[in-house]
Amino acid sequence: MGNTIKFLQGNEACVEAALYAGLDFFAGYPITPSTEIAEHLATRLPRIGGKFIQMEDEIASICAIIGASLTGRKVMTATSGPGFSLMQEALGYAVMTEIPCVIVNVQRGGPSTGIPTHVSQGDVNQARWGTHGDHAIIALTASNHQDVFGITVEAFNLAETYRTPVILLFDEVVAHMREKLVLPEPGEVHLVERLRTSVKEGVDYHPYLPREDGRLPMSDFGGVHRYNVTGLVHDMWGFPSTEPRTVHALLRHLVDKLENRTNELARYKEFHLEDADIVLISYGSSARSALHVVEERRQRGERIGLLELQTLWPFPSDIVRTKCADSKAVVVVEMNMGQVMQSVKLAVEHPERVFLANRIDSVFITPADIINILRVIQGKGV
């Protein structure tokens, strides 16, 4: 086994994974703290015959990757809060037209320009609700570079499987921190390739007519099937429709194809949950401090565990409810004002037992911050 070991930034781990997954088109615009992703891909993509383009803004960047995806490429863009805000309309277009793409948001302090160089996890709800209208979305995250790699490959796989944009919600700490990454060998990690239609040239191809298994085979733009793509509500031909049954069916399809598979889409890790009285729930870089607390307290005999979420949307409510069922307290550890805590409260049987350990001062949350909250919950005083 000759696995390559690298020592690199989280943003570079994301780049390695995207290339491993088959990324061959990237469009982006410089923004801290995501810029290294664009920088590395500017070098790496042309070396493998792929395409890199620096666009005039983030709106143009996401539009360019959607266009490229339609021609059959695996595509990605990377940005941070302000750029992610600009991308929201086109993100909805990708949802509506069911065009696979991966959008990385390396979160920084917000709102507005906020604190570009410091950490935050304030875009969790924006990832879910940022674009207008009822829809479903997949948003994934990770706390260390090996998982950044795995979850980035997963993002490409899910984008292809469900013909959907997938959002990677990383944060400044994971993005800029350097640590070890073991690069899998080619073929070691399963990759999902584009499902292309088997309809022959000259036979009608319906771009929005699902197969029996619910999947929608695609036909590359520029190929033998000419069809229409529109952000308007459309029928199976891709043509605008205001027919109520068509409207209803499309909206249901866009939501159900993901929300009905919430458990299937749930990626998470658990540490010492089997007998935990106190369950920490965390994700991204915050989960590193949470895990530290769990391991330290376990050594003292405390019954505490960690549920680390990697799928943030669709929110894995069933899993959260099950894992927290026997707990006396649930502490959500995150660097925002409780965005995941809200979802946890909706999921669990006893929302009154859900607490928040957070920081919103642009400083990385430490084990001590979490322990302070635990002491309050345990009635020990700070």
């Binding site: 395409k51 709106i59 266009g67 059959g72 733009f221 520029g222 000419r226 793509v229």
Partner: protein, 268 residues
């Protein structure tokens, strides 16, 4: 191939108003493509939002009806990904130069090989007659009840300044010339812009008391002239028609391919 073979007849009738100039542009565009002998599979048409952008639905090419103002950005992605395809981007005046102005100048600057057709009726028709950045001053619109004070862009000057390597203007009256310049624009290697003055009798014409469609078309005949004509010297207010810019310049996708070749160092 007959002109109608380029159309998706089952999706007619179109949604444009009686007397609208956009149908004439559709006709000119399809005739240009027919004259060039292009196959339907090699053409990708990308549009934004507005009356003009609905043109993509009616043609039997690879068609993408996108979001307001961003058609050129989507088209750039398609073109860079598959440089062998012919990209045609029909846009309205608001779509191209208000919300899409930034993408317009940057597409011109990059000199990506695609053809932007600005169907300029000087009004937002789809939303019911608001002024656009091409309306010009002293125009009546629903959002300019006391007439416009906003100055207009000159599409030709803007495209030229931004670096477009082919820039032309025609009108819906000059159907033959329109077809001819669209043909040359599609053939041109690089970013080509064709501005076509078209009439919106429903909103622009009615609001500004120019008359109905025939009167508006006649206005194009009476108020335009060939580039550098004697008539222009005698009446400087006449709008010039024809090809203003036609020059060679490094095309973006070809330049990018050189980067790929260099980065791969001859490796495959």
């Amino acid at each position: 191939m007959a002109v109608k073979d380029y159309l998706r007849e089952r999706f007619f009738p179109h949604l444009w108003c009686p007397g609208c100039g956009h149908g004439g542009v559709l006709g000119g565009l399809v005739r240009a493509i027919e004259n060039l002998g292009l196959t339907k599979n090699e053409i990708v048409m990308v549009s934004g939002i507005g009356c003009s952008s609905r043109i993509t639905g009616y043609v039997d090419f690879h068609t993408m009806h996108t979001i307001h103002g961003r058609a050129l950005a989507f088209a750039t992605g398609v073109k860079l990904s598959r440089p062998e395809l012919k990209l045609i981007v029909p846009m309205g005046d608001g779509d191209a130069l208000a919300i899409g102005g930034n993408h317009f100048i940057h597409a011109a600057r990059r000199n990506v090989d695609m053809t932007a057709i600005v169907m300029n009726n000087r009004i937002y028709g789809m939303t019911g007659g608001q002024f656009s950045p091409l309306s010009g001053t002293d125009i009546s619109a629903t959002t300019a009840p006391f007439r416009t004070i906003d100055r207009s862009f000159d599409v030709v000057e803007l495209a030229t300044a931004a670096g477009a390597t082919f820039v032309a203007r025609s009108t819906s009256y000059h159907a033959q010339q329109m077809t001819d310049v669209i043909e040359k624009a599609i053939t041109h290697k690089g970013f080509s812009v064709v501005e076509v003055l078209t009439q919106c009798p429903t909103y622009f014409g009615r609001k500004n008391k120019i008359g109905d469609a025939p009167d508006m078309i006649k206005w194009f005949k009476d108020h335009t002239t060939t580039i550098g004509s004697k008539a222009k010297q005698e009446a400087p207010d006449l709008i010039e028609r024809g090809i203003f810019v036609q020059k060679e310049g490094p095309e973006y996708c070809e330049e990018y391919q050189k980067i790929v070749d260099r980065a791969m160092g001859g490796r495959k």
